[in-house]
């Protein structure tokens, strides 16, 4: 291999300059930073009349997109919805279970469910599984005491916030919220801000993508805007079907039976009773 001069500019492609340094650091015990496994952007914010939740719609299996249009905003009660990040089976099972528990609770009390009740059911369950149920949730709803927004982490801790983001795209979405959130947003402004935050996650995070789902909850009403924005449509679909060329030539259509090759080993005795 010829020697490359140090002042020649890189021609593109991967630069292997730091590999030697990384190998040396690894030998000294320095680890690579860990990467988060939740592929999602979910957000929530409180506006003047209630709560708005938003989510992207991509479900990933490692580097593969498993579902291009999945639903990440789950129903808990008529006035409470929950966005879920993490393992899809975990978020769905947990929200389904808590939704049933809230239903029973409504029968026993005869009252509308409260957001803190849903919060407590969820955190009790997640804590008892010591973080093995990988569900990171943004819980939002409006009840008798007003609008509420909470985040719940897989180990069972919770936060109560005016605006929140979770998932691998949370930093991209939080950047939008931190710069543009203010109290007393109107419905249109709130939806616009949530859409921007989710789009920021969709375009800047590999784990998030496809469409934007929005859910607006107010005191007497809820609106589930499924696929409110679809910024990733399939741009060109061929009008004629794909035709794959036949590569194999048919040489002969005739059936030749093969000759049986039978070996007689030994004449067996009749089976003994």
């Amino acid at each position: 291999m010829s020697k490359v001069a140090m002042d020649v500019p890189a021609k593109g492609g991967f630069s292997f300059d730091l590999c030697k340094r990384n190998a040396m650091l690894a030998k000294d015990g320095v680890q690579l930073p860990p990467f988060r496994k939740t592929g999602t952007t979910i957000v929530g914010l409180i506006f003047q009349d209630g709560v708005i939740l938003g989510a992207d719609t991509r479900a990933t299996e490692g580097p593969i997109v498993a579902d291009k249009n999945c639903e990440k905003i789950h129903y808990l009660a008529p006035n409470i919805y929950c966005c879920g990040a993490g393992t899809a089976a975990d978020t769905e099972a947990v929200t389904d279970m808590v939704s049933s528990q809230l239903n029973l609770h409504r029968y026993h009390t005869g009252r509308q469910s409260r957001v803190v009740t849903a919060l407590t059911y969820l955190k009790k369950h997640l804590f008892s599984y010591q973080g093995h149920v990988s569900a990171a949730l943004v819980l939002g709803g409006v009840d008798f005491t007003g609008p509420h927004l909470h985040t719940i982490y897989p180990h069972g801790s919770t936060d109560t916030l005016p605006f929140a983001t979770m998932g691998s795209g949370s930093l991209a979405a939080m950047a939008i919220f931190e710069s543009k959130y203010k109290e007393g947003l109107t419905r249109e402004e709130g939806i616009q801000l949530v859409t921007e935050a989710i789009c920021s996650g969709i375009f800047n995070d590999l784990g998030s993508g496809s469409n934007v789902d929005i859910c607006v909850i107010t005191k007497d009403n809820k609106e589930y805007l499924r696929n409110h924005l679809q910024p990733n449509p399939r741009t060109y679909v061929s009008p004629k079907q794909y035709s794959f060329t036949k590569k194999t030539e048919v040489l002969l259509t005739k059936i030749t039976p093969l000759k049986e090759k039978v070996e007689v080993i030994q004449a067996g005795d009749a089976m003994e009773e």
Binding site: D96, M97, S100, N103, L104, Y107, H108
Partner: protein
């Protein structure tokens, strides 16, 4: 009869082939306040007397007719506390069914499971049978249905039935007035008249309870004001 010697233990048959404790449970039901149900062509109505022990009791806090699912309601005759326990168990069973099958529980299934619970308590140690008979009213894909469940765990489907104190008079009255094509509104009037037959004192919206389920498949308990309207129509 040697029955009395066998009446202390629930899980022992008497020589005449009866479980005497269940007979006693039915007696407890028979001395409870009258309740009845009527299955109409387009819905079901259930009703009961709501006689409170004293005028000082806050009658708005007492609700004898309960909702098990959005499309199934239930009323009882007998011991109120036993009823509460059964309602709780039935609601949980309905929700568990939904969890498993993602479908609203059919009326027959819920009745069967509630009856199974009541039967359990007639064959276990250290427990007593429930002192209530239930009238379950529901409307699902098979249409309007009315079931009675007894303390023994047996259940029957009825076109119209009554339980409690005035049962024989009420049933005779219902037999005379029931037709297969009866409409829900007429059924409510018939229910009120049947309750009035054996009512001691002045009947009003505050001392009876009525629950109905129509073609909208939503069970609801009528407010005292609505009952007063029906009473006025009946007069």
């Amino acid at each position: 009869m040697g029955d009395s010697q066998y009446s202390f233990s629930l899980t022992t048959f008497s020589p005449s082939g009866k479980l005497v404790q269940i007979e006693h449970a039915l007696t407890a039901v028979g001395s409870g306040q009258t309740s009845l149900g009527i299955k109409a062509a387009n819905g079901v109505v259930i009703a009961t007397e709501k006689k409170l022990p004293s005028i000082l009791v806050d009658e708005a806090s007492v609700q004898k007719i309960q909702c098990l699912t959005p499309n199934i309601g239930v009323v009882y005759s007998g011991m109120g506390p036993d009823f509460r326990v059964l309602v709780r168990k039935s609601r949980k069973q309905a929700v568990q069914y939904h969890q498993l099958y993602k479908e609203a529980i059919p009326v027959t299934q819920l009745v069967r499971e509630t009856a199974a619970v009541m039967q359990e308590f007639t064959q276990s140690g250290g427990v007593r049978p429930f002192g209530v008979s239930l009238l379950v009213a529901g409307f699902d894909d098979s249409g309007p249905q009315l079931f009675q469940v007894d303390p023994s765990g047996s259940y029957f489907s009825w076109k119209a039935s009554a339980m409690g104190k005035n049962v024989s008079n009420a049933k005779t009255f219902l037999e005379k007035r029931y037709t297969d094509e009866i409409e829900l509104e007429d059924a409510v009037h018939t229910a009120i008249l049947t309750l009035k037959e054996g009512f001691e004192g002045q009947i009003s919206g505050k001392n009876i309870e009525i629950g109905i389920i129509g073609e909208d498949k939503i069970f609801r308990v009528l407010t005292p004001a609505e009952i007063e309207d029906y009473l006025a129509e009946v007069e």
